[in-house]
Symmetry: D3
Subunit: 234 residues, 6 copies
Amino acid sequence: MMAAGRAVASPGTELVPLTASRGFPYIATRAEAQVGGAVVLEMLAEAHHTVDAAIVAAFGDPGLLGARELFDIPVVGVSEAAMLTACMLGQRFAIVTFTRALCPWFRDCVDLHGLAGRCAGIVALEGPVPSIDAVQDQNEQRLVALAQETVRASGADVLIFAGAPLAGLAAKVVDRLPIPIVDPVAAAVKQAELLVALNPRKAVGGGFARPGPKSSIGLPAPLTDRMSHADAQS
Amino acid sequence: MMAAGRAVASPGTELVPLTASRGFPYIATRAEAQVGGAVVLEMLAEAHHTVDAAIVAAFGDPGLLGARELFDIPVVGVSEAAMLTACMLGQRFAIVTFTRALCPWFRDCVDLHGLAGRCAGIVALEGPVPSIDAVQDQNEQRLVALAQETVRASGADVLIFAGAPLAGLAAKVVDRLPIPIVDPVAAAVKQAELLVALNPRKAVGGGFARPGPKSSIGLPAPLTDRMSHADAQS
Amino acid sequence: MMAAGRAVASPGTELVPLTASRGFPYIATRAEAQVGGAVVLEMLAEAHHTVDAAIVAAFGDPGLLGARELFDIPVVGVSEAAMLTACMLGQRFAIVTFTRALCPWFRDCVDLHGLAGRCAGIVALEGPVPSIDAVQDQNEQRLVALAQETVRASGADVLIFAGAPLAGLAAKVVDRLPIPIVDPVAAAVKQAELLVALNPRKAVGGGFARPGPKSSIGLPAPLTDRMSHADAQS
Amino acid sequence: MMAAGRAVASPGTELVPLTASRGFPYIATRAEAQVGGAVVLEMLAEAHHTVDAAIVAAFGDPGLLGARELFDIPVVGVSEAAMLTACMLGQRFAIVTFTRALCPWFRDCVDLHGLAGRCAGIVALEGPVPSIDAVQDQNEQRLVALAQETVRASGADVLIFAGAPLAGLAAKVVDRLPIPIVDPVAAAVKQAELLVALNPRKAVGGGFARPGPKSSIGLPAPLTDRMSHADAQS
Amino acid sequence: MMAAGRAVASPGTELVPLTASRGFPYIATRAEAQVGGAVVLEMLAEAHHTVDAAIVAAFGDPGLLGARELFDIPVVGVSEAAMLTACMLGQRFAIVTFTRALCPWFRDCVDLHGLAGRCAGIVALEGPVPSIDAVQDQNEQRLVALAQETVRASGADVLIFAGAPLAGLAAKVVDRLPIPIVDPVAAAVKQAELLVALNPRKAVGGGFARPGPKSSIGLPAPLTDRMSHADAQS
Amino acid sequence: MMAAGRAVASPGTELVPLTASRGFPYIATRAEAQVGGAVVLEMLAEAHHTVDAAIVAAFGDPGLLGARELFDIPVVGVSEAAMLTACMLGQRFAIVTFTRALCPWFRDCVDLHGLAGRCAGIVALEGPVPSIDAVQDQNEQRLVALAQETVRASGADVLIFAGAPLAGLAAKVVDRLPIPIVDPVAAAVKQAELLVALNPRKAVGGGFARPGPKSSIGLPAPLTDRMSHADAQS
């Protein structure tokens, strides 16, 4: 994912990878997203003062709306960025992924963003996934075939290869597919840069104002402080 | 909330209150729901073998879909139960709550359940909330007036008083309002009993099958075991 | 249908079957539902004082909304109950029935309840229906195969076997299908019990208040009286 | 209503008023529409061979879809005709009527026709209705004021005065309102003529084929015969 | 197209074909519709005083909404007329055309009219189109087969053969298809006659009032004058 | 508008203003957008080889989809860019403009982009517009008051000041409003840069492939050549 991001980052942009100290190696279901999204808040509570913007780098955008409330910096999700970017390249996008286990969670994500009317379909390879690390290399031809069939059958104008194991695939196979492909990580890096450049104010009204001070028990100190407004900054 | 639940529970039903050992005293925003929903999974990982069904007792249903995937028992959310029950009493329900801070999160919840077309509105008292404990007593008249105005202006057929501090209010004010009122806790207790009686099978396919075994780091032992399938039961 | 209902009814619940003295042996189209729904009102005008709640026991819910306006007791439709119950077991349900002739009417019903967004599809056996009485026995294997294919292709999380001739099928075939199945009659019995337990007030405002007194010509006496408010009770 | 229809009927068109021999003087609620719609089928079973097309002349279109299935002639509803005609005069129409009691049923009707996205609102006079016969004369100024306010506030492009007592009002007040007004009866007469002229085939497939032969008990002879296919014609 | 229109025009109706002096021989894409729609405005600026109503006779309705704003006469689009007419013959229509290149533009058109909920599908022949003039003759059997399959698979109640080269096809093949077929040109002629007969007022408010005077550069004189209100009439 | 764009353009980005040689000084209605959108295609046919991306700089995005089909470079609309950018700052945006005459066209635009579910409202100053040039200066306080009221009443999370005369207003008044404001021109410049950086392939399939060669009459030479594929490049 870092490679896909660096390939498009602007000269002045430094990408700082954060890996959660707790949680799952990757996120594939609603249950994992619920936990993973909470970990996103914990991580950002610690790191938000050190960066200009944050990217939630799991397709499905776990914790995105909560992070957008809680922190003053722009926060972008990779699926959100991919879908919104795709909207500028055609009327309908299709999401292609590597296992059907991801589809229900991805559908929830499309609905969360109110983009069901622009989604031509969510499709996945059939069958078991041998190893996450080898997904892209071992299945490149099957993924391209699935994408080609999806273009034909769904009427999609744009493709999104979704799921961390597919990061970077778009660039490799672009010549074998007849429509534009959006790489979620690349889109997110550029949309985050865009928001930093536009420098929008942090909401103090509406539905994304920072929540009022709230006591809590048993959360990591940075998140505790962010929730209680004990943190000095912002 | 326990009182509201016990008032309608069937003779053979025992309500077992679980209070999170970590998290927030109550949940009012998306950020809090993200964390609170993860805590729901932790708590159910510990308790699910000891009960026949679970109720997520915060309006907004934090963690509901994840819990429904992860555990074999029926899991019901209070907002879900209230809205679905309201659907049997009229075509459109309105949600009345005590502070506008809750409205964005509640709207997300209505959308999550695909019931926006049946929601006549989400309304709230204006102004600050002095104390959660005293919300209901101090604002009863204002809440009734708001509900009456909502019936008149929104065309709602059914009302839902939403938010833990309003549990039990419906029964007190029913005679002052011209349409049925659903108490979320009462509805959830009865819907949970209903699901236990119908005894549906746990999905092993579709979008709510239990996720496959997943390693994790740093989660409480019961959730770790549930995620990794190290738990013996179910 | 009585067997399916009795199998889940609570100890104190007595199910009283009412068969229309006029109309059709079963309802399969909009025209039949229009007439059948009017007969529902006639029957309930006669019987509503003798029961605590009513179930409209034809999938498609003929006459449901009119009955909900007109009478003081809770009225539940079997399709409504099945769909709302299914919503607590997954995000999307599929409806499986035995003849394509029913599908248009069922689709109208899903739309009436505002649940199209949660419906993964309405599917039916192809070909003629030899005998309503023998539908279930003669087609069990075909129905299971259709349901299995529907789970695979539609992404449904829950199944509903719809149509009176399929009452009770869910219990027989549950082990051959990977997702929960809701039996409409069973769901309706339990939802009716639930509404009786919650004891909501009858609307005197909103869209389900009893209509004002209305004269009529040529209707059966009990319905005439209910419409004109000549009936003493309620 | 006949006057409003005759004012626009083509030279060769004869309007034949049918008044139900049973039912209500006018229809204002879902319960009345359920019964009235069944009576529509009874009446058309008797009369359909004597006319080229039929108009269901109660706003809300009781029995429309059932009649469209059951008979071979075109059947048009006044609300349907009004709304579809309005769609050719602007993007969004508003429905203005004389009592709030009608609004819920009218909203169901808009939804039934799938036109909620083109409906800018359904509004009604407040307060009681003294006499149906005098509604239009006594309230003309209030209705015009309500319509003017609706144009201003709702952004409607077209108005529909709905309800039998308002038939003919559009022509009287057109100069006092800034946007086109559709009279439902006038629209229905012309749309019925249009369908007769286009002479579409009766469906023998899809969702509006005539239902297969069905036995029944206790229905009027013409409807019994139409349902059982005992009628010789068509 | 003139033949299809004349076949249904009323005795007093004269159809005046206007062919654009600039633009494309037929319109198949959004880019062509953008230009063609502007040419529609130019043509109507010249001709609107000489006719009682106008028909935009390209499926997709290029320029329709602009023309409806700008001119005082009724303006009808062939796709709009076909779809609205189809709505009176069934709940869902399918659009059948001769090349997939048209489908995206047609889908935009369905959405523009807010009728996606009543559209069962837009289907097209596969493969290249040899000659527009010969489309109908050379492909009649393939189009009928496609339409038959669409009726079976999509659940459509009504068919629309769309695209100028298919004008008149409906009448030829009606006996080979089980559901009603709407010919867009025929529907538009009749709907235009209907609007002339109803004689709605031109909006001076709402979203279809004539735009205020606007200066312009380089447009044909009649359109320049219509935009600047320099035209004497209306 | 150039000032608003230059304020955010990246160092390497040169903004090249193109002013149409024909058409209107600004675009406010559907009729003007129809013509203006055709002019957009004419202008781009001449200029597309000389730039890396194009911005359609009239709120409402006239000609956008046609341009996206016809040319190989990315094309972005200012309203599209504003709305998609706003989607990353909150769940619902409101559009604020200076005259109600623009609202119908803007609503069409929101619908075209499938974003109605994320639009909290489109609001405008009441009353006449004295001079386009002076709109912003003379009405700043009224626009801020309208925006403040909109935040309060609509529940919007983000604001968009729409219409060329309001370009640059967002930056001036940001401190007087409690939620982020997106300037359409600024958003479009950054989204255009983003698309150039991501360098998506031009579609040769789906709904945005370049249309096949098409003859035309009377169009400007560059557009004629682009439509007929007589242009050498791309």
